[in-house]
Every structure is written in C-alpha cells, then in structure tokens.
Amino acid sequence: MTASAHSSIPEGSPGRGPVVRRRRAPLARLGRSERLWGVIFVAPAVLLVVYFLAYPLGTVVYYGLTRWNGLSPAEWVGLHNYRVLMHDPVFRLALRNNFLFALSVPIQLTVPLVLAYMIHIRIPGWAFFRATFFVPATIATVVVGIVAYSTFQVSGALNSLLGAVGLGTLEHDWLASAHTSIPLILLVVVWANFGYNVLIYLAGMAALDPALEEAARIDGAGPWRILLYVVAPNLRRVMELVLVTSTVTAFAYMFTYIYVITNGGPGFDTNVAEFQIYYQWFTNGNAGYACAMATLLLLITAAIGAFQIRILARRGG
C-alpha cells in the first residue's frame, strides 16, 4: 500500500512532536509516528490472539502427537494417535453423526431463503414475522437444549400432548434411540438458526438493485419466478455464507445440544466429534488422543471456513 498524495501530511506538521530523523522509506513520506501508532493500536489484539488462540492451537497440534493424561509430562508418540483414530469405531460413529447433522444444510439454505423472500415482498404480517423469527436465536443454546430435553423426554410435553389429543399410541421415549433423537436434535438446530439465516438473506435482498426485480416484473414474471431466476442467482455470495456457517455448525457447534439433550447416549449413539473430544479428555483422561481429534476437527472446519474468510476479506479491510 502506498500513501496517497492527498492524505499525507509532511512530517513535522503541528502536533506530531519533534522529528528526529527523516528517511524516505518505501512508504514515502509516511510519518514514523504513524507507523508506531499502528503497531501500538494493534498490539493488544495481537497479544490476545497469540496468547489465547495461536498458542493454544499450537499446543493442540503438539499434544495430539503425544500420549498424555493432561497432568503428567507428555510422551511423544508421533502419529500413533492418528493411527488409532482411523480404526476407532466410536469416533467413526461420531463423525457419521456429524454428517447426519450436516443433512440440515439444504434445509437451512432453502427454507430461510423462501421465508426471507416472503418478508422481502411484504407478505401480510411481514414486519411481525421479521421481528419474531429471530427470537429463537437470542435464547441461549443451553436453554434451547434444556427445553428440548424437557419436551422430548419420556414424561415430557410432547408425550402428554399426544396423550391429550388421543394419539397415545404414538407416545414414545423419543430420546432413547438415535433413530428418533438425531432427527429431533436436527430439527431443534434448524429451528434455533432459521431466524439468523432469514436475517442474513434479508440483508442480501435489501442490497439488491430494485431495478432487477422491477424489470422482471414488467416482463410479466410472477413472484416465484423472480425468486428463482432473479433474486436467488444474485444472492450467490450470501448463499455461500449461509452454506459455510450452517455446515460449520453441524461439525463444530453441536456440543451444547448433545451435552444437554442426550449426553451422547444411549451408549455413544448420538455422539458427535466434539462430544468425543470432551469425553476422551474429561472422562477418560486421554488428553493427547483428544487433542489429535481436535486437530482433525480443526482441519475439517478450517477447510470449510477458508471460504468464509475469502468472502469476508473481499469486503472488509
């Protein structure tokens, strides 16, 4: 980056303090003090990031290559943990469940798009819908999980409702089997996030050039055609963003739901990778093994997230 002429002021201008030395650095005529202030202003953030993000991630990768119980000194075992991981049926089951939860992605991509479009074209009640759809996203995940647990557990609201309307034969211990609990948790996650995705889509639609939709309308296209052929194609970047965030959610933001709703059970049936990391570390004392799994999870989400950074970096800065 070079200093643009109109916005640079020669050194020694009032308020800059005494100029000790003038040097024509590659940044022509940029104040030394300006460079110094840049470093000073960014320093707390960089320190915090290095201390609580970069360094811990480094230790995760390192401990993933050791046998370690979290307390005594770690013993270097190379790729041993990863070899074990390849053949660990519980971890495989956990990853499979992550992929099952990723089945929510198409729903999260399409349903909020339609809902946002309805608000966008001002369906009756649109302002009310816009305000209420976001309510679930403001409730803490742990609270959503506890309400889901109390609703679906065997003596919960769902079963009493079924009994009350004469469908008692459908009563079921919903959380006792992964066949029912995984779809229910998936539903809860979709429900908890849909308002968030609607908001993202709405912002994207508000930024579209109204002339596009107007032209299509004059050409005789109905609302659905306009959504399909004009609005959706022009929201590609927003859809990329929703795709990335909902995929990452399925792989890396499931812990609280699982912990509260099924605690991974019955057995390991509703386990996800995150839960297995916690379990191996906290319950089994295999911190080294847990770190190897964490490294793998990091690689998966970083690969997906690289798209997100590209999208964000195009706009900011």
Binding site: F52, Y55, P56, F129, A131, V135, L297
Partner: protein, 289 residues
C-alpha cells in the same frame, strides 16, 4: 445499513399461495415463543400442578419455584456472575477491537493489511478445539505463571479473544466507511493519532460501538461450553452453567428448573427487544453492499 428488509418491494402472491404461506409463517412465529411459553407457564406453577398437566395453562400461581431457584440453587449468585462476565467482556472487547480496527482501517502503516488478515483468520476456529488447551493454559498461564481457572477475569480474556476476529472485522468495516477527510481535518487542527482516535473517530463510531456491545453482551451471556469447564464454583459460575446443573434435579423439581430458565432468558429477550436494530446490524455485517 437500514434495517434488513425495509427496502423490500411489495409483490402480490396468488391468494392460493399467499394464505397457506402466511399460516405456515404464523405457526413458525408461534413456535418461536414455545420455549418462552414452556418456561414461563411452568415457572409460576407448583410441581404438583406440573405433574397433572404440563402443557395446559397453570391452575396454580406462585413464586415459590423462583424462590427455590434464586436462593436454594444459587441462581441469584449466578445472575450477578453473568452480569459481571458479560459487562467485562463487552468493555474489554470494545477497547481491544476498536483500537485494532482503527489501526487496520485508518492508520497508514505498512503492515495494516497483514495485521487485518492475521486477526481475521481465527474466525474459523471452532471453540471446542480450544477447550482442552485453553483449560490447560489457564491452569498455569505461560510467562506469568498464574492460575486463572475458575476466575471471571480468565473467562473474560478467553471470550474477548474468541470473538476478537469478528469484532475487529465489524469495526474495520465501519471505520473504512468513514471518509478520510475527517482525519485530515483533525490532523490540520493539530491532533495526533491517539487524539484523533479518541476525540474524532470513537464519537463517530457510536452506532457501531452499540452494535458491538449488544452482540458481545448476548454472546457472553449465552455462552455455555467454556464456562462449564472453567467456572465451577458458586462465586464464579454464570447462569448458563447454573441452570444446566438444575437440569440434574429435573425429576425432583421441574418447575424450579423452569424458573431458572426464565431468569436466564427473559433479560436477554428484553435486551433483544430494546436493541433489535443494533443486533440485526451485527448479524448482517458483511452481507450486502
């Protein structure tokens, strides 16, 4: 940015499409209030009434469940902890992110693009990956050898770091949208970099700062995973952890749990209703224009 959707264009759907859709959206809206209905209707009734009919409206009304939760289950202490942690996170996040964003958007120095990208990339790190190493790190901080496990300061530092990439991004986008002429004017008036920052840019950034404050407050208030492992005593644990521990006594005292959920949730809903616009701005940062 205007509130999302306010520049919507009215288009009419065929009535046979419109009314089923409106009905479906009404059901979704109702479902949005379902957890609130569950916790409020059950928080004010007795356990006996709950056992009789947990889905219907309460036939008893009392504050006993709230009293049991507030005192017996120390939800009151946790409420104070949640406030302290959330406010601490908001203050530290605003200071650190705003300074960094200013350096990335408005101070002309060679590494500003590199600094921006360095601070941004961590946005992809899932919090759970950090759980084990951060726990270990807090038990004995490198270089300073202090134990910040079970300390509100420790969790505030972690929360600030985890959200820093997003906060910095949000503020950088905002500062970038302000015209450089403002800086020029300040400089001609003799202000140096920190003076320009404190007396020109920060006052101009007030709307963005409000957005940042609301977003981080809600995030910290609702965070569960780090708090579960790091904050374990009555003196430190926030509401999310406290209500989850009430869940363990669900069979004995379901209404006490629901009262706890009310205490944990209703303030947040209030904050959302009051500051809706700011929150929407934070969520939709990076989308559109």
């Amino acid at each position: 940015m205007t509130a999302a959707g306010s520049s919507g264009r009215a288009l009419r759907l065929r009535a046979s499409h419109r009314w089923p859709l409106v009905a479906g959206m009404l059901i979704l809206s109702a479902s949005a209030f379902f957890p609130l209905y569950v916790m409020i209707s059950n928080g004010f009734r007795t356990n006996q009434d709950w056992a009789d009919t947990q889905i219907g409206l309460p036939t008893t009304f009392g504050l006993a469940a709230f009293r049991r939760a507030w005192e017996g289950a120390s939800i009151g202490d946790s409420f104070v902890n949640s406030v302290e942690i959330s406010v601490g996170t908001v203050v530290l996040s605003i200071v650190v992110a705003t300074m960094a964003a200013y350096a990335c958007a408005k101070i002309r120095w060679r590494l500003r693009r590199a600094a921006f990208l360095f601070l941004l990339v961590w946005i992809v790190v899932p919090p759970l990956v950090l759980l084990v190493p951060v726990y270990i790190e807090l038990s004995s901080l490198p270089l300073v050898h202090t134990n910040l496990l079970n300390s509100k300061l420790g969790i505030v530092l972690v929360y600030t770091a985890v959200n820093l990439p997003f906060n910095m991004y949000l503020m950088t986008a905002y500062f970038s949208s302000l015209p450089d002429e403002l800086l020029e004017a300040a400089r001609i008036d003799g202000a140096n970099v920190p003076q320009t920052f404190a007396f020109v840019m920060v006052p101009l950034a007030r709307p963005a700062l409000a957005t940042l404050a609301i977003f981080n407050f809600l995030w910290a208030w609702n965070e569960f995973m780090f708090a579960l492992f790091i904050l374990t005593s009555t003196g430190t644990k926030p509401l999310t952890v406290a209500v989850q521990q009430l869940q363990g006594r669900f069979d004995q005292d379901p209404t006490g749990l629901m009262a706890g959920l009310c205490i944990a949730t209703l303030p947040v809903i209030g904050v959302y209703l009051v500051f809706q616009r700011h929150l929407v701005r934070a969520i939709t940062a990076g989308v559109g224009k």
